[in-house]
């Protein structure tokens, strides 16, 4: 909820600015105070209503534009139940139109308060209508440099270089001609260096020490390169595939500070941390359909709706249109190694970041750790086991002995680097 209110704050602040301008222009409802209305709106209405789109209740902007009977509106907002109970025809219409869903009664709001809210909604709606939509004005959103663009740029640069070289050549020839014509002969600077150079190289090649040195350096370089690349075969540190949804951990885990477990609920109880199912996304994204200051629903969030067959307008799910999202697995531990998240998080009290790196700063996730056996074993050898408060370890005599001698106990000392602990 924290993130939700945060977004709303950001959103409403921007809306306020625009609304302020709009307010100066409009005069029809000038007697009511839109600023007060906004505060009231945020406090009372946002749980169910948005101005420009349907939430639990209908979108208020277009509704209030059409409905001008303010007296009715005030009555309805203050106590819709009473109106329904008295079978007021207009009220009954509204009630039936929205599936007989009951609206909260706001008897604590005075008539002026309600009018402030109505004014605010109308001005805000008008303001948002008057701002041209980016899509309608026809300016296409740039999706980054295309490959054609990159290649043509490189081509142009190359061409420029060629031209520069040619021009340089031409200038120097012309200069020389000019000097020649002027009679200022500067030819003596060139004393056939090319012949000498070849001889020098030949001489160097005959120098056994030099050749040996070169060969040694070459072999060492090649050898270390081979060594490195062999060690790193199938090690994919930094692997960062393009995912079907541009999901940002930086935004969710970093800025919004959502707990890792909220989505990766398996991490503390199962071997799989598990990628969240879409119903978890919908906990928030049923309400949040766009970025912080965006006017348009986010394309990425729409992918969630599409995958679920969800229509934000009707708020209905069509399971026939549902299809799973095929994420690309980044951390590929081979099948022959058994790894259990809960052992490390719940029992070992390790932070996610220990293995996954600064996940809260990653726009796109990449593989942080090498996931090699060496890496596993190093950690098992160096990390002290956290026994505190875990009765499991109370009857392990070996542990007590070591602890009483004030020695550290690592996972490796508990048998944590034996083959069968991970390979079975």
């Amino acid at each position: 909820m924290r993130s939700f209110s945060f977004i709303l704050k950001q959103f409403s602040r921007s809306v306020l600015l625009i609304a302020g301008f709009a307010f100066l222009v409009s005069s029809a409802h000038a007697q009511a105070d839109a600023a007060k209305g906004e505060a009231l709106f945020k406090a009372n209405c946002t749980a169910c209503h948005k101005i420009d789109q349907q939430l639990v209740g209908p979108a208020l902007g277009p509704l209030l534009e059409k409905e001008t009977d303010d007296k009715f509106l005030v009555k309805w907002i203050q106590n819709n139940q009473a109106l329904i109970a008295s079978k007021e025809p207009k009220a009954m219409d509204v009630y039936n139109k929205y599936n007989q869903a009951a609206m909260t009664v706001f008897s604590q709001l005075s008539e002026a308060d309600v009018m402030n809210i109505i004014t605010y909604v109308r001005t805000d709606w008008k303001a948002s209508q008057s701002i041209p939509k980016p899509g309608t004005t026809g300016a296409p959103v740039s999706t980054g440099p295309s490959t054609l663009l990159v290649f043509s740029l490189i081509g142009i640069i190359l061409l420029a270089f060629v031209i520069i070289i040619v021009l340089n050549k031409v200038t120097s020839t012309l200069e020389r001609l000019l000097l020649k014509n002027k009679g200022l002969f500067v030819e003596e600077v060139v004393v056939a260096p090319s012949v000498d150079r070849v001889a020098q190289v030949k001489k160097l090649l005959k120098n056994k020490k030099f050749v040996f040195f070169i060969l040694l350096v070459g072999t060492l370089a090649l050898g270390s390169w081979t060594w490195e690349s062999l060690w790193n075969t199938n090690v994919h540190t930094g692997y960062q595939p393009v995912q079907p949804i541009k999901y940002s951990h930086e935004l969710h885990a970093g800025i919004m500070k959502i707990e890792c477990q909220y989505c990766h609920s398996g991490a503390y109880k199962s071997k799989n941390a598990s990628i969240p199912s879409l119903n978890i996304c919908m906990n928030c994204h049923k309400v949040i359909d766009r970025g912080l200051n965006a006017k348009e629903p986010s394309v990425e969030i729409k992918k969630i709706y599409d995958a679920l067959g969800y229509d934000p307008a009707t708020q209905k799910y069509d399971t026939t249109k549902a299809h799973p999202i095929q994420w690309i697995r980044i951390h590929n531990l081979p099948d022959l190694a058994y790894f259990n998240h809960s052992q490390h998080t719940k029992v070992g009290n390790l932070k996610c970041q220990t293995c996954h790196g600064p996940i809260q700063e990653m726009k796109e996730v990449y593989q942080y750790s090498p996931l090699t056996m060496k890496w596993c074993i190093q950690c098992h050898k160096r990390t002290n086991v956290d026994f505190k408060g875990n009765a499991y370890y109370t009857n392990l005599e070996q542990v007590h002995k070591l602890l009483s001698e004030n020695k550290k106990v690592t996972a490796a000392m508990m048998g944590g680097i034996e083959c069968g602990k991970c390979h079975y």
């Binding site: 199938n234 994919h236 595939p241 609920s265 398996g266 109880k269 199962s270 071997k271 799989n272 598990s274 990628i275 969240p276 199912s277 879409l278 119903n279 978890i280 995958a307 679920l308 549902a322 799973p324 999202i325 095929q326 994420w327 690309i328 697995r329 590929n332 099948d335 022959l336 058994y338 259990n340 809960s342 052992q343 719940k346 029992v347 408060g389 875990n390 009765a391 499991y392 109370t394 009857n395 392990l396 005599e397 070996q398 542990v399 048998g415 034996e418 083959c419 069968g420 602990k421 390979h423 079975y424």
Partner: protein, 1018 residues
């Protein structure tokens, strides 16, 4: 009592045939032809330089190209909307029912991967048979029917419904008969649906038809006591058990339950109380039950009735008309002794017979009545409902069809076109029926003759219930969405009868709400939810009362004698039996069961003609020689197998084989023996007069019995008699004078000081409890993704089972005589009276492990918890470890069994691979594997304790073989916890370690086999 007693696994080992000696030289029967390559053409041949360069160039090029491939991109696809109860990576357990036994189904991410016993199950208390363990694999059988069909082509359910309803209406209007043929239905809700169906179509009738039926017992009880029921036997209350051909530990009525009961009077606990039952078995072929008996006497089928008459005479002190002595003096003596034993144990005695003959069973009732068994060891008031087949009704149904009176027939879980003895008669009669509907989930022999197939859900996809025992009601709940477009048979029946309740789940709920929940003191929604958790409700059982037999037996005896005379008219008598793995053959398409070696014969993937070794010699046959068997006008060709313990001049053949429409795994495996059945006095008979003829062909059997020779180390098995045990509980263990320290001169082995570590995982196996049923083998396969290799590979000694049950024979004379002398061995008569010991053999997790010292790459190393770890991806396949293992428990992957078209019978498709346990790696070609003591379960148990912040308790970790064992013969746990069950078990005086003298310090302790025989000479 000591190691000079000779144990052997097969006649080839006993006789040291040259072939066996040759094959047994090496751990791997077929060596890699490296010598040939090096000494023969390999080195002498010239490789031209150009060829060499070509090969080199191609090799380098191919390897570089192969190395160029990109790392595959792996997708990770989460749920759209995750069900609340599913957490990926964590198993869910659902209670359900398998054939009347409450079970737990383990599911991972919504798919069942293992069946486990419900520890509170009334029948087997958490034990499960091999069949139940294997049943999960059938869910993923790609040969199941994928939708309804009509007249051989696919049809929509709507069109099938319309057709069947119209036909039923027409049949009803015409007043023709409708028949529902099912194998025994004990589900209360299914029975209610059938009753509703009959209400709607009054000409309909429900007939229970069991391929192997117990009609004889039911009718005999109706005859003797006016109660047409299958009694509930209490083997746990019997001190003396006498069985005439009833294989109650293997296949008879409720084997898992009977194993549990039987072992209660024979396991370590009972022995400590100085109590052990005595079990005497009279039978033709050597069965699991016979092999566990204290005294076993081979008799021909024709002698069975006679022996019973003699026993009755001896017990009652009368002589029934026509009584005569048995041909075998030994058996006669035994009968007299048995009578004495039984009378001494009045009220605690039990006599059972496997025969399906009413007269025989009436006589057995008379005997049990004399012994006061009713109300004690036999319960007629809380009867078993596991079998209700009525042979005569089914035969009459065929006659009705033949007369054209039947116009509609429905087959539910019944396949008479395969398992009825006169299939031609059945098929011809069926042709005259207008509407033939099968609910089979495979296009089996009967379904292919039907015009409508409405495939049923598998039991793991169904709602339902079971009622295997009077007053015991279990629930069946689905654990997965239907895999194919199938529909539950009961649902189909509801639709076709226009029942106001359209949905079978609602029907089951209503039935439970109205009738069954109250029996367990439950009610309403909450009661139903409780039921789904516990899996069953039970009523307080009625008090079992005594029943007195009062009918005249002379006529009964005469019927028995007539039958006996008819059987002994020919030279050879044929006896039909079920194997423990395949039973009646309904699960033929299950590769786990096909590959499970038969407990006694150790044959896989086949049935055979079991003949006594003496007869084999007389008839000039060797193992695998194909003989033509003829009986009751039916002939099949089967390979012969010399079976020690087989009665002379008899042949035993297993039913359940020779399917033609079971699916690619079961089709053509063995030969169908059902046509050897015959109908006599209204019941199917399992014995017949037979003839055999040699064909001159030989078809080798894939028999695992001598694949792992003990190289004459007789100390692997230790046994004692009960008398000796009572005198000295350590008798036979080799530790009568205390424990010998073999570690004195140890220069070589590292000491791991396991007693100072938190855990030392060990196992105790009670040889006196193990009946050899093989459930552990299948449970292990399911838990550890053990591949199936098929008949040809088993023949090459390449079966992959991590746990095997070694079956050892020994002679009857207790090592006092000269059984070790050649002359005695030659006496084949001895082979009729072999004794059998079963020994589950798995990786012993030696502290001084010989495999570890020879591994050049440290792929197998020791853990601080006493386990012998195996890192598959480190293994390079030198196989040194297998060669150095004295227990021969390491198995080598010769192929990628899960991804090789040559092994089409198992995991070679994505669908069946769903059964794999995701916590265990599938092994690649070229690596060794072996029992890991279910290390995934140990780790999971520890993790659970850590998360819950509590110490690990004894019993938190149960290994798969231990969990399924109906006899509780296997105990696993932490030896460093002095109070753990395994520590207590290992402290027993009977404990010994196999090949202890090698100082490998195994982690698996065995407990001496104790027999309780009587001396025939006495």
């Amino acid at each position: 009592m000591d190691s000079n007693k000779k144990y052997w696994k097969g006649l080839e080992e006993l006789n040291q045939t040259p072939e066996f000696v040759e094959k047994n030289k090496h751990e791997f029967a077929e060596p890699i032809p490296i010598e040939d390559v090096l000494s023969g053409g390999g080195l002498a041949g010239r490789t031209p330089r150009r060829d060499f360069l070509k090969a080199l160039g191609f090799g380098v090029g191919a390897v570089s190209l192969a190395a160029c491939q990109k790392v595959p991109v792996h997708k990770s696809i989460p749920y759209l909307v995750k069900p609340e109860e599913v957490t990926p990576g964590i198993a869910n357990y659902y209670s359900s029912t398998y054939e009347g036994s409450a079970i737990l189904v383990k599911t991972r991410e919504g798919r069942p991967i293992k069946i486990e016993g419900n520890p509170n199950d009334l029948l087997s208390k958490g034990g499960l048979s091999a069949q139940a363990q294997a049943s999960v694999l059938d869910l993923y059988d790609i040969n199941r029917l994928k939708g309804a069909s009509k007249d051989g082509s696919d049809a929509s359910w709507d069109s099938v419904d319309a057709f069947v309803k119209a036909e039923l209406a027409a049949i009803k209007a015409a007043g023709k008969k409708i028949r529902l043929i099912t194998s025994t239905v004990n589900s209360p809700s299914t029975l209610a649906v059938i009753a509703d169906f009959i209400k709607q179509y009054p000409t309909a009738k429900h007939i229970n038809y069991d391929a192997v039926s117990y009609t004889g017992i039911i009718q005999a009880n109706s005859n003797s006591f006016g109660k047409a029921v299958l009694p509930h036997y209490n083997f746990d209350k019997a001190d003396v058990i006498v069985s005439f051909g009833a294989d109650f530990l293997g296949t008879w009525i409720s084997p898992s339950e009977f194993i549990r009961q039987y072992v209660q009077n024979r396991n370590g606990k009972s022995l400590q109380n100085k109590k052990m039952s005595r079990h005497i078995q009279f039978e033709t072929g050597l069965s699991v039950t016979g092999s566990n008996a204290d005294v076993r006497l081979p008799i021909k089928p024709s002698e069975e009735g006679l022996a019973l008459i003699n026993l009755y005479n001896a017990l009652a002190g009368v002589t029934l008309a026509g009584s005569k002595k048995l041909a075998n003096a030994n058996t006669d003596k035994a009968i007299a002794l048995v009578a004495k034993e039984l009378l001494a144990a009045k009220g605690k005695a039990l006599v059972v017979a496997g025969s399906n003959d009413v007269a025989t069973q009436v006589l057995v009732n008379a005997i049990n009545s004399l012994l006061g068994s009713y109300g004690n060891t036999i319960d007629l008031d809380n009867p078993s409902l596991q079998y209700a087949g009525n042979d005569a009704e089914f035969v009459e149904f065929i006659h009705e069809m033949d007369r054209g009176e039947v116009d509609g027939v429905f087959f539910l879980n019944a396949n008479p076109a395969y398992d009825y003895y006169n299939t031609n008669e059945f098929k011809n009669a069926l042709k005259k029926v207008r509407l033939k509907v099968s609910f089979a989930d495979h296009n089996d022999e009967t379904a292919s003759l039907c015009n409508v197939i409405a495939p049923n859900h598998y039991y793991l996809e169904s709602w339902g219930d079971g009622n295997s025992l009077a007053g015991y009601y279990t629930v069946v709940q689905p654990t997965i969405n239907p895999v194919y477009d199938t529909r539950q048979a009961e649902q189909s029946l509801l639709i076709w009868q226009d029942n106001p309740v359209k949905d079978y789940y609602t029907y089951v709920r209503n039935n439970w709400d109205k009738n069954l929940l109250a029996k367990g003191g439950l009610s309403g929604q909450k009661g139903w939810e409780t039921l789904l958790q516990t899996g069953f409700v039970k009523e307080t059982p009625k008090t079992a009362v005594d029943y007195k037999f009062s009918r005249d037996l002379n006529a009964v005896a005469q019927t028995i004698l007539d039958h006996s005379n008819a059987l002994s008219a020919g030279k050879i008598e044929l006896q039909l039996f079920q194997t423990v793995a395949l039973r009646d053959g309904k699960r033929s398409n299950n590769p786990w069961l096909q590959e499970l070696p038969d407990p006694v014969s150790k044959v896989t993937w086949d049935n055979f003609a079991a003949i006594s070794p003496a007869d084999m010699k007389d008839w000039g046959l060797v193992d695998g020689d194909v003989v033509k068997l003829t009986a009751n006008g039916y002939t099949v060709e089967l390979p012969a197998l010399s079976q020690p313990g087989q009665a002379r001049n008899t042949i035993s053949v297993a039913v359940g084989y020779g399917r033609t429409s079971a699916g690619p795994v079961g089709d053509g495996v063995g030969k169908n023996a059902y046509p050897f059945f015959s109908l006599r006095n209204g019941t199917f008979q399992t014995a017949a007069v037979a003839e055999y003829k040699k064909t001159g062909e030989n078809s080798p059997l894939s028999q695992t019995q001598t694949h792992h020779s003990i190289e004459g180390r007789n100390s692997v098995i230790k046994e004692a008699t009960f008398t000796e045990y009572v005198k000295n509980p350590a008798a036979g263990s080799g530790r009568e004078e205390g424990h010998k320290n073999y570690n004195e001169n140890n220069l070589f082995w590292q000491d791991y000081e396991l007693d100072k570590k938190p855990y030392n995982w060990v196992m105790a196996i009670d040889l006196n409890a193990c009946t050899g049923c093989g459930a552990c083998v299948v449970a292990c396969s399911a838990e550890n993704n053990v591949p199936v290799v098929g008949k040809a590979e088993v023949g090459r000694r390449r079966e992959m089972h991590w746990i095997r049950i070694d079956r050892y024979y020994s002679f009857n004379d207790d090592g006092k005589g000269g059984v070790t002398e050649e002359s005695e061995i030659a006496k084949l008569d001895n082979l009729d009276n072999v004794k059998v010991v079963y020994q589950p053999m798995l990786c012993q997790h030696c502290e001084h492990a010989p495999c570890e010292t020879v591994c050049p790459v440290l792929a197998t190393v020791h853990s601080s918890e006493g386990l012998n770890h195996m890192a598959y991806n480190r293994c390079i396949g030198t196989r040194y470890c297998a060669n150095n293992c004295p227990y021969k428990v390491r198995r080598f992957n010769w192929f990628n069994y899960w991804n090789d078209s040559r092994f089409d019978n198992y995991l070679n498709n994505e669908h069946t691979q769903l059964v794999l346990n995701p916590d265990v790696t599938t092994r690649f070609r070229g690596v060794m594997e072996k029992c890991s003591m279910c290390i995934q379960r140990i780790q999971a148990g520890k993790l659970k304790a850590k998360i819950e912040k509590r110490p690990l308790k004894d019993g938190d970790v149960k290994v798969a073989c231990q969990q399924t064992c109906p006899a509780n013969a296997i105990v696993f746990g932490n030896a460093n916890d002095p109070k753990s069950e395994v520590s207590i078990a290992l402290k027993s005086e009977r404990t010994y370690y196999v090949l202890e003298e090698l100082n490998v310090q195994p982690g698996v302790g065995y407990q001496v086999k104790v027999r309780n025989p009587f001396e025939l000479e006495a």
